[in-house]
Symmetry: C2
Subunit: 331 residues, 2 copies
């Protein structure tokens, strides 16, 4: 009798232990997604690759998911956040650079003449980036970036930039991680511009951030080792650079990739070309009211060829307007 | 009475659960190390940084440990393993390159005249590396490396190279990981030469391998995306390149670093210069009988300035002869 009672008691204990993960699984992990095709295809993919004993099963080690950042995880309009940072920084540094008053593209920035800035072309943009992103140590740059994020806000929402992130994508990142995925950011943006805040914002630690970079140099200053940021491009993590960056940093091919523009096309192609189950998704900006509507003709986040390829190959295309119940946590 | 018995029963169950990790902790995690100062300092460091509530405690996320490979984790004598690979590959490719019969350094390799090879200097070595490491896709290179490792053996031990690894260091890697550390390889060797076997050999997955690299290019061949290896240096992960590589790949400063030569000096300096508890270790090759004895005058794995700095700054120096009970698992 006693033994039986103990058995029952122990059985309840085990049921309790088992029921905790079950209860968790029954909660919708993607509450900001409408129950439309994209959500269903995401869930179907995750269930497929995590089901042991099937031919689609993927071991945890190989569950690599890569996410573009600008326009895929956070707002890239009316201008890339990093460009806003560079412009603010030019204004801040201007007093020590009197020559900027008469030299483009700096003059344009200081006079708020963005047409003149854009007329300076890629060369001008690189000049702006180098003037604002190099010269200091990595440690100092991290502080500059952190300080800027503490006060800067998006022009449309008047919210700090790292609140202007897509709630459905934040849920997706967490859902994938809860299913054993390692989530990476693979962005054309600067790697050291992202690392100071991605862990807190997206749950993506610095070592899982891949991005564009400038060269750095190890140096000893008064017996203290430093990494100095040099005004020289090291790597451009965009377009065909994304598979290169992924291979360089991860050394494995992703099984799932998420982007929103032609700059992500090769990352999705590279992901799609692997063997076994694959998942490729494009975020299509279709919501002029809650966010922005743009694609084939946009100068920021142009989505043209990748949209055609997504359609042709049956990749998942998310319409922000139709497939997302909520866009931002603050809305 | 029944309730009391159940309580006792449950208490035993909990004791059993609790006793499993305790029993594990009581097993010596570093059995191939003698109970000399290095082992004691390693254990003291790990216990210190993992003890919550103390000022030395380091959160799991920040427990980054970086290991050199050649001479730190595996044998680098009588020549770097990757050089042995390059020489074998030259011989294998020679039939398609009749011009190599009369051109140095290839001629020297084919005639077994290493003096002539060395006389070709750094330029010659780079030529050998490019001729053997570039031109193919990443996927093909991985296969070439894997095939080579399946048959090549070390000249002294007549064992496959990935058995010529230091058992005490393998135990150390596992011990650190069991204590929440993320273990990285940071090697002057080629990143794609290491990645195919480091996970199986050391428990270090591809995304935690940092090394030297050549440039790669994304290309579409008959609708299939490939990464082509180009004959152009991308990054040299040695000496002052190691902190640069660590910052680029990890974006965090290690709290522990392990090396054996002057090429590791800056990695150890960079690690030492962080705030909080730090651990720097140099493997000193002092065992001519069981392995090799070399340091200040060696052309491979020269240890001179870093040994002086280790002594001056109180970094841990392991004498292989005195501090390691066993060097290889096969001995």
């Amino acid at each position: 009798m006693i033994a039986r009672r103990i058995r029952i008691h122990l059985a309840s204990l085990f049921l309790l232990i088992i029921s905790i993960p079950c209860a968790y699984a029954q909660t919708d992990p993607l509450p900001s997604w409408n129950d439309t095709a994209p959500k269903k295809s995401i869930v179907a993919f995750v269930e497929k690759v995590t089901k042991e004993g099937t031919s689609d099963f993927v071991p945890v080690d190989e569950r690599i998911a890569t996410f573009d950042n600008d326009g895929t995880l956070w707002v890239e309009q009316p201008m890339y956040v990093q460009l806003a940072f560079a412009l603010d920084r030019i204004k801040q540094l201007a007093p020590s650079h009197p020559e900027w008053k008469t030299t483009q593209p700096f003059k344009g920035v200081l006079q708020g003449d963005m047409k003149a800035v854009m007329a300076s072309g890629e060369k001008g943009i690189v000049e702006l980036i180098m003037a604002t992103h190099s010269g200091m140590t990595e440690e100092d740059f991290r502080k500059i970036v952190t300080d800027w994020f503490a006060s800067a806000t998006n022009a449309k929402y008047h919210k700090p930039y790292n609140q202007c992130i897509y709630q459905p994508m934040v849920e997706l990142l967490a859902y994938l991680r809860a299913n054993g995925f390692k989530t990476y950011i693979v962005s054309g943006g600067g790697i050291e511009f992202m690392r100071p805040w991605t862990e807190k914002t997206y749950g993506v630690p610095p070592e899982q951030v891949i991005g564009s970079s400038i060269k750095t140099k190890f140096e000893m200053v008064d017996g203290k080792p430093d990494l100095r940021r040099l005004p020289e491009v090291n790597f451009i993590d965009d377009g065909p650079g994304k598979p290169v960056g992924i291979n360089q940093y991860i050394g494995r091919r992703p099984i799932a990739a998420f982007g929103n523009s032609d700059g992500d096309q090769q990352m999705l192609e590279w992901t799609a070309a692997g063997t076994g189950a694959r998942f490729m998704l494009i975020v299509h900006h279709t919501d002029a009211e809650r966010e922005y509507a743009y694609d084939r003709k946009s100068s920021v986040g142009k989505l043209d060829k990748a949209l055609d390829e997504a359609t042709a190959k049956g990749w998942t295309v998310v319409s922000m307007k139709d497939d997302w119940k909520k866009i931002f946590a603050f809305q």
